[in-house]
């Protein structure tokens, strides 16, 4: 397969996953670009590090006491999964339906919400919205347990329209109220007790009890409602059906997909005032949404096979989120084959880079794009990637050394070292001036010599230095 095709598949792997090793890319190359798209979309039986194995080493990560510790289990899953697109889609929906620990104060319902996203991430968008409305963490996050037949609380209804489906400016205040009425009675079981415990951040007596959805028919307003110009005795499912029929919904979700998978858009609050970066691409995604009857998997297949996605104009046009960066780096090291004592710190490093999953800065989620980069976060990102990829004893590093040793006995040219390292780190195309600086660095630090198909420790340190430098390049920090 021509190198240009491998490079295109590497672009796909960065966007539909967390990047890929050279070996994985060459395997993908055997089935071609479209075959790789299909393979990534096939997520019916994903495999990742056993949850029982994680639970044995970190019992807290599957429980509810330690606030966000369930996220460490999610990080294990992202690092070890063989279905990376499923994890990316879960991150995508988590960013839109952003739900945070500081108000929910119960970690298991947040983990359960992530499980729900995984189940519905690539199905019918209607199903996802209904399950999201029934999700116990979401109910508490947006106060729907306080949305009663005789006194509505519009918080969930408003965000469903504003942030989760249509976007501001596409509905009226009356629509918000009618929407809220339709979701009255959508609450959690044992609401009074659970709310009391949650409000106090109470662990007693035997740890937190998880939550489940409950429909309280007595508290549901089943009267006639007028919503987006339609009249009827609508319930929540009817409202979702009407929402999904709207072109505004299709445009809003299409722009989110473009923003997350194709190229960075401005933050969502600016969308009503700034046109999309590529309006024609948005039109095409909208069409795919309606043509597929709101099937997200079909929409993603269309996007990944589109010319606008494959265009080199959008390569490296996305700044990796901290979750993507940490996951991608750890996958390249190939060192996480079992639960590890050091794992907790990786989640913390992600936090220092500006992202704590299940703890978004607001109900609007993370802005993404260049907002991930400030001076502190950039240093943390470069340090993390360099430290992990520069370790000499990881399987990933050993594989790199053996590739260089395979060049044969004698000196290995600096130019060739850079070539091998860039391919090893996921087939990265760096700009000419970046490449020339990398070559200069490799040259200035002395020759690397292969003797009896081995590289000595000094040579390995030099190679690790090159890898650390590549990990700091804009191209590595972007997707």
């Amino acid at each position: 397969m021509p190198e240009s095709q491998i490079e295109l598949i590497a672009h796909l792997a960065r966007r539909a996953g967390f990047g890929a090793t050279r070996e994985e890319l060459e395997e993908y190359g055997k089935i071609g670009y479209e075959g790789t798209v299909d393979k990534l979309l096939e997520t019916s039986s994903p495999q990742w590090m056993s949850e029982y194995l994680i639970r044995r080493y970190h019992p807290d990560e599957s429980s509810m006491l330690a606030g966000l510790s369930g996220l460490e289990a999610w990080l294990y899953r992202m690092i070890t999964t063989d279905a990376p697109l499923l994890e990316k889609m879960t991150l995508f929906w988590h960013g839109i339906f952003a739900t945070g620990y500081p108000k929910v104060l119960n970690a298991k319902p947040l983990s359960d919400q992530i499980r729900m996203f995984k189940k519905y991430a690539m199905g019918d968008f209607r199903d996802l919205l209904v399950e999201m409305a029934r999700d116990p963490a979401m109910i508490i996050w947006l106060d729907n347990q306080q949305n009663h037949k005789d006194s509505i609380n519009e918080n969930f209804g408003r965000e469903l329209l504003e942030l989760f489906s249509m976007g501001v400016g596409n509905y009226t205040e009356d629509d918000v109220k009618e929407c809220a009425r339709a979701f009255t009675g959508w609450t959690i079981g044992n609401c009074e007790y659970m709310e009391l415990r949650s409000a106090r951040d109470s662990d007693w007596p035997y740890g937190r009890i998880s939550w489940h959805y409950e429909f309280d028919a007595q508290d549901h307003d089943d009267g006639e409602k007028e919503f987006l110009g339609r009249k009827g005795n609508f319930n929540g499912e009817d409202i979702v059906e009407i929402i999904c029929e709207q072109e505004a919904t299709a445009r809003f979700i299409a722009r989110h997909i473009y923003h997350f998978f194709v190229a960075d858009e401005p933050p969502v609050p600016q969308w009503p005032y700034q046109p999309p970066r590529d309006p024609e691409a948005i039109n095409q995604i909208v069409q795919a949404y309606f043509d597929s009857n709101y099937d997200i998997k079909s929409v993603m297949k269309f996007v990944f096979n589109s010319d606008f996605f494959k265009s080199e104009d959008c390569w490296y046009e996305k700044v990796k989120s901290p979750a993507e960066l940490v996951t991608g780096v750890m996958r390249l090291t190939e060192s996480v084959d079992r639960p590890q004592y050091e794992h907790s710190s990786r989640q913390l490093r992600m936090q220092y880079m500006g992202q704590t999953l299940s703890n978004p800065p607001s109900v609007e989620g993370w802005d993404g794009g260049t907002t991930w980069i400030d001076t502190g976060a950039l240093v943390e990102r470069m340090n993390f990637a360099s430290e992990e990829l520069g370790k000499l004893e990881t399987p990933g590093s050993k594989e790199l050394f053996s590739k260089i040793a395979f060049e044969g006995n004698g000196e290995v040219e600096a130019d060739r070292i850079i070539d091998i390292c860039l391919k090893h780190l996921g087939t990265i195309n760096v700009k000419d001036d970046t490449r020339s600086k990398l070559v200069d660095y490799a040259s200035e630090n002395g020759v690397i010599r292969v003797i009896d198909q081995e590289i000595d420790d000094v040579g390995k340190e030099k190679i690790a230095g090159v890898v650390k430098l590549i990990a700091s390049t804009p191209e590595f920090q972007r997707a």
Binding site: R56, S69, Y341
Partner: protein, 340 residues
């Protein structure tokens, strides 16, 4: 078996009474007088702030604690796993992160440690001590989660026997965990990833296997602990199935326990000073189970209720054949006694 009582309360504080992901217990008995329970708090992965051993009476009278990471270097734990007393009331604690057995007296004073050989098989992997059992002659048996073997040690820590290897055949292991020695000196090992219990004599000769993979009665999913009573009945912490199964020594299932927790003394004390919470709790139905499809299994059901086992990680018998089940995710001990 029938339920007797529930012991403990949850606390995420680094000191004081209250459990934080308890992983195992050991019982010190002054026959006919008292029972003191030593409970190992595994605590949370990120901070380890609550990692320590607490000890208290069977009646829930608090005595003290030791091994806190805030204490001196010798005594503190990193990833402690299991506990066992020797015949001189010396408490042995395995730590899978530091590859050692730490030994304390019954007042919690650190005595010494036994460092385990991390590379006895020459493959470069660590030992990862998990389960521990001590026989009537004070020989120590320790299971290795990474090397998939059992070592028999003298009280001083010299290896006198080693057996096992990675695999699913008789005498092989996949990440073994808890162990117990019966009154006849035979060793029982929770062969965790092989979903079975294996029985050996004191020289490591394979005798028998109990159970197989599955969710049915007599089947196990990731058993974490095993205990043998005076009648040679075998209790298995069927951890992945969120239950405990009791077998006779031939392997027939006598009892399947799913948990029947009641409020402990410490829990009652807490609710006595939080009356609104007690009242709201009384109005709640903590046994309700109508979960969406993606949450329909034993693990999620256990998370939604309070009476059922959630993370039944350890089983231990006392001299009266009372069974103690420690649950890491419910931070308590449920005690059962044989049905009359």
């Amino acid at each position: 078996m029938k339920t007797v009582k529930t012991i403990g309360i949850n606390s995420n504080q680094p000191v004081g009474r209250g459990f934080n992901f308890p992983y195992d217990i050991a019982i010190k008995e002054d026959l006919g007088k008292s029972r003191t329970i030593y409970l190992l708090n595994r605590s949370n992965s990120a901070t380890r702030m609550g990692t320590r051993i607490q000890y208290f009476t069977y009646e829930e009278d608090w005595i003290g604690e030791f091994g806190n990471p805030l204490e001196d270097d010798e005594a503190k734990f990193t990833r402690p796993v299991t506990l066992a007393f020797d015949n001189s009331d010396q408490l042995h604690v395995t730590d899978e992160a530091t590859d050692e057995i730490k030994i304390f007296n019954s007042e919690g004073k650190f005595q010494r440690s036994i460092k385990l050989d991390s590379d006895s098989q020459g493959n470069g992997d660590r030992f990862g001590p998990a389960g521990i059992a001590i026989d009537s002659g004070d020989f120590i048996y320790v299971s290795s989660r990474y090397l998939n073997l059992i070592q028999k040690l003298t009280p001083e820590g010299r290896v006198v026997k080693e057996w096992g290897g990675t695999g699913g055949g008789p005498g092989e292991f996949s990440m073994p965990w808890g162990m117990d020695v019966d009154s006849q000196g035979d060793l029982y090992v929770a062969d965790w990833r092989n979903d079975r219990i294996q029985k050996f004599d004191s020289e490591g000769i394979f005798l028998k296997t109990y159970g197989e993979s599955g969710r049915g009665v007599g089947q196990f999913h990731r058993p974490s602990s095993v205990a043998v009573d005076a009648n040679l009945n075998v209790a298995v912490a069927d951890w992945g199935n969120e239950r405990v199964q009791i077998l006779d020594n031939a392997g027939s299932v006598i009892n399947v326990l799913e948990g029947e927790a009641t409020l402990s003394k410490w829990s009652h004390e807490w609710l006595d000073v939080n009356l609104d919470e007690r009242e709201a709790r009384n109005r709640a139905d903590l046994k309700v189970l109508d979960l969406p499809d993606h949450l329909k299994n034993a693990y999620h059901e256990a998370s939604q209720t309070e009476h059922k086992f959630w993370g039944p990680v350890s089983v231990k018998f006392d001299s009266e054949n009372q069974l103690y089940v420690t649950e890491h995710s419910r931070h308590r001990i449920q005690v059962f006694e044989p049905a009359s």
